[in-house]
Symmetry: D2
Subunit: 93 residues, 4 copies
Amino acid sequence: MAVQARGKQDHAMRLRRIEGQVRGLQRMVEDDKYCIDILTQVSAATSALKSFSLSLLEDHLAHCVAEATLKGGPEADAKVKEASDAIARLVRS
Amino acid sequence: MAVQARGKQDHAMRLRRIEGQVRGLQRMVEDDKYCIDILTQVSAATSALKSFSLSLLEDHLAHCVAEATLKGGPEADAKVKEASDAIARLVRS
Amino acid sequence: MAVQARGKQDHAMRLRRIEGQVRGLQRMVEDDKYCIDILTQVSAATSALKSFSLSLLEDHLAHCVAEATLKGGPEADAKVKEASDAIARLVRS
Amino acid sequence: MAVQARGKQDHAMRLRRIEGQVRGLQRMVEDDKYCIDILTQVSAATSALKSFSLSLLEDHLAHCVAEATLKGGPEADAKVKEASDAIARLVRS
């Protein structure tokens, strides 16, 4: 439980930082910064979003999917399918 | 010129929308929403950031790189190299 | 077991098709085909490799990770960590 | 011209190496290698394909797109649009 509470705080902090990156991008556009410099910051924000989702996904596999597996039955298979679909969306986003 | 002013407004609007998506993610984490639903929204925000950078890149190729090409010389080569490096960072982000 | 044998045949078939795509790319380069047409085929081959890895990963989560979860203990955590690391490499490749 | 001939040889060599990686993947599946080890090799092959396309794209920007820009007119705009669409497919593949 404590672990998941720490997870939640960590997730919230990462997202606040990403929000800051996106605001920074808005200022760069407003100030007519050089395109390539803006693109570098977009790549950084995209990487940060991907890291966030990878961390969320690891928690999900370790908690929700693992619990469903222990219960077994069709729900376990459904959770694996659902996680795999989320991974596919992530890989293709 | 008018095109680039429109481009700037379009870029600013896309980024405000992405900022909204990232705030929405923060609320989802705060409200303990289901991981998979959060992941779906992260994929949407990541796609939106990628679309933004593709649109910025197209403008850059059509304006800055094209101008450098018309001037010619080593600066033209440097601009193509710089744009290619930005594309590589984008593809790998 | 039968399922995994079918999985193996399916994986082998996908890879043979991808090998065919890569050979096709070699012929396109040899025949001086237009860069953009080659790039379109590279994107198709990259997508096929990603689909292959997503299918492999789903099998892995449904079999190896699920079995480790049922046994429990540190090995279960290690399997989730290992799968998450593989997903991260995939997302960033 | 000599540069482009070298480019062609370099492209052909990269693709032969990628073909070798895909054959290696087929052997791994055939020999029932551990999923995670196969996934690591798939990520390597995917990265190699992306590097190949980035190198091809840089050549294309430096030669075909630059030539069209020098000629000017609607063909120049069309080349930039075409290259941008190829970059978008690459980023999303």
